[in-house]
Subunit: 340 residues, 2 copies
């Protein structure tokens, strides 16, 4: 199993990304991670960290002279930077030299490069990005979190199919419960897009449980939540913002009294556990779904553990043949099954 | 100052609503609160709580035989329940027998009743609901949180005008900073609705600071955030859901060890402070903006303190003539000022 890793993307620096790769190598003995970026620099870092031992051989380097920065336009990046880490990475996947690609860089550019190099899965109109949200029970998969801001009902319907297949195989959910994000649970609720999508989902063979509200994202009573990329992006970022603000508020309240500061010494470990549970980045990366290959996007400020988890998640997606399942479910849902 | 209070709406029961009214009467000596609901029942409750003293006289009762339940269709409710608390309440406002109306009941029905009885402010196409979100600095006003799920750019532009006037007068923000909720800060980001609204806001005399992301809601670097009612509703409910889940996760982590449980005894007060800061309901109610009068909607499970704050907020809106300011700003922004 060979996973390509964008070793320059994101806000965290190559060192931490390589640490994440090493963590993953320790977890799986059959794994190689291909580091993408400036060869000389990466070689030096790997040699400093690992010497020239056996582990270093499981971290081959493929040179890529360019990096797409976080705020660059994806369209421009794909057009102008032919030798960027993401373009080189998906080229490896295309040519069978890597099984999947992981990047913590510019997510739009990563998706654009994936589509350019690998193309779409058969029948998929709009590839998108799914993400796992923490909940009181199992993590909940929400799609799309930002790739497609203006959607038609058919796009949301396909998001449901793709995320359902992915949730079933990666999170071992038998017939994942699919909810449509709306402003109320009743079938009469929703904007025009949601109301029309409701009809498509209801008629399908998917396990559609109806509309869900924003508050249902965190209770864990649904496995997959479908929405357009604009709403999904706002949902993700408002959650990040609130989680961050909540940690700061809690700290401020504790610093107000000596008594609470003493209490904090006893309770610190519980706090760390709490912080980890709220940090969805720890759950791994966000799978690109609908591309003809496997790609995972990580948060730009991922920890090495999050990178490690994303690499393992990519390997899981390859092994579990998520894309085959998507194509099959799509065929079943659209009645174009080949009776094979 | 007379504020009408729906004494039956919501999930909390009349007792708690009356407690909220009494709290408000204690804060302001020039205040009367008109209780709306079944006369005999409310009379008994008031007499049990307050006897027949002076305070009871500041809680006059106006009979309304019907209540709109939380899941009733607003359109049906307004058409069929002519003697509901919300219809009777806005009738009082219309006839000058109350200065404003507060309800913790069905928010759609409250807005529909307000529009039916009072009509729209001159020039306003779509009245909506604004809500205060907690942040690391001052509370942030977001509009619309659910009244208008399918919007045109002109509607969002008017939400900006209305929320800006309200934020300036209620929160004492001089020239409130207005942000447009989008999936990225760059002006190129957004769905079709947002991109077109961006142009309208940029050309206007409002203090428009550009696109803001979901994470900016909680950092307090913006005073007013504009979005359509679908996105606003999801934003509000996802925040509620996350805040609730976070409190539960924190509790679960603490219960895992004796050490943490001991720490909790020292830190409990800080926790309560934290919970209060996250609980946006404590900030008061959500003003209905764009109606020709003053109305406030409270969360269906409000505390008596939240009801008290909403009543005081309603009085503030009346005294500060928020509606006059909206009409004036709208005229300035649309160039139809009468040179008065």
């Amino acid at each position: 199993m060979r996973i390509a890793l964008d070793a320059t993307g994101g806000d965290v620096g190559s060192g931490l990304l390589i640490d994440g790769a090493v963590l993953a190598l320790n977890k799986r003995r059959d794994l190689e991670v291909v580091l993408l970026g400036p060869e000389a620099e990466l070689k030096e870092q790997v040699s400093l960290k690992l010497g020239s031992g056996r582990m270093a051989h499981r971290l081959p380097i493929v040179h890529a002279s360019q990096t797409v920065s976080m705020h660059e336009s994806p369209v421009d990046a794909v057009r102008k930077k032919k030798d960027s880490t993401v373009m080189v990475g998906f080229d490896l996947v295309k040519n069978g030299k890597a099984d999947a690609m992981v990047s913590a860089g510019n997510s739009g550019a990563t998706l654009a490069a994936a589509i350019r190099k690998l193309g779409r899965l058969k029948g998929i109109a709009r590839p998108g990005i799914a993400s796992l949200f923490p909940s009181l029970k199992k993590p909940v998969m929400l799609m799309d979190i930002g790739a497609n801001v203006d959607c038609r009902p058919q796009h949301l319907f396909q998001f449901a199919i793709m995320a359902s297949s992915c949730s079933a195989l990666l999170l071992k959910n038998d017939r994942p419960r699919i909810g449509l994000l709306s402003n109320g649970e009743e079938s009469s609720k929703g904007n025009a897009l949601v109301k029309e999508t409701y009809g498509l989902l209801q008629k399908s063979s998917l396990n559609f449980i109806g509309n869900v509200e924003g508050r249902d994202v965190y209770n864990g009573d649904v496995d997959v939540i479908v929405c357009d990329g604009f709403v999904g992006n706002v949902s993700l970022k408002i959650s990040e913002g609130l989680a961050e603000a909540a940690m700061k508020m809690l700290k401020e309240e504790i610093m107000k009294s000596l008594r609470a500061k003493i209490g904090y010494l006893f309770i610190r470990k519980a706090f760390d556990g709490f912080r980890t549970r709220l940090d969805y980045a720890e759950y791994g990366g966000a799978p690109l779904l609908g591309i003809n290959g496997v790609g995972i996007i990580c948060h730009g400020s991922s920890s090495s553990l999050a990178i490690c988890n994303a690499i393992r998640e990519a390997a899981n997606m390859v092994e579990n043949r998520v894309n085959d399942s998507i194509v099959k479910t799509l065929a079943e849902c659209t009645g174009k099954e080949s009776h094979a």
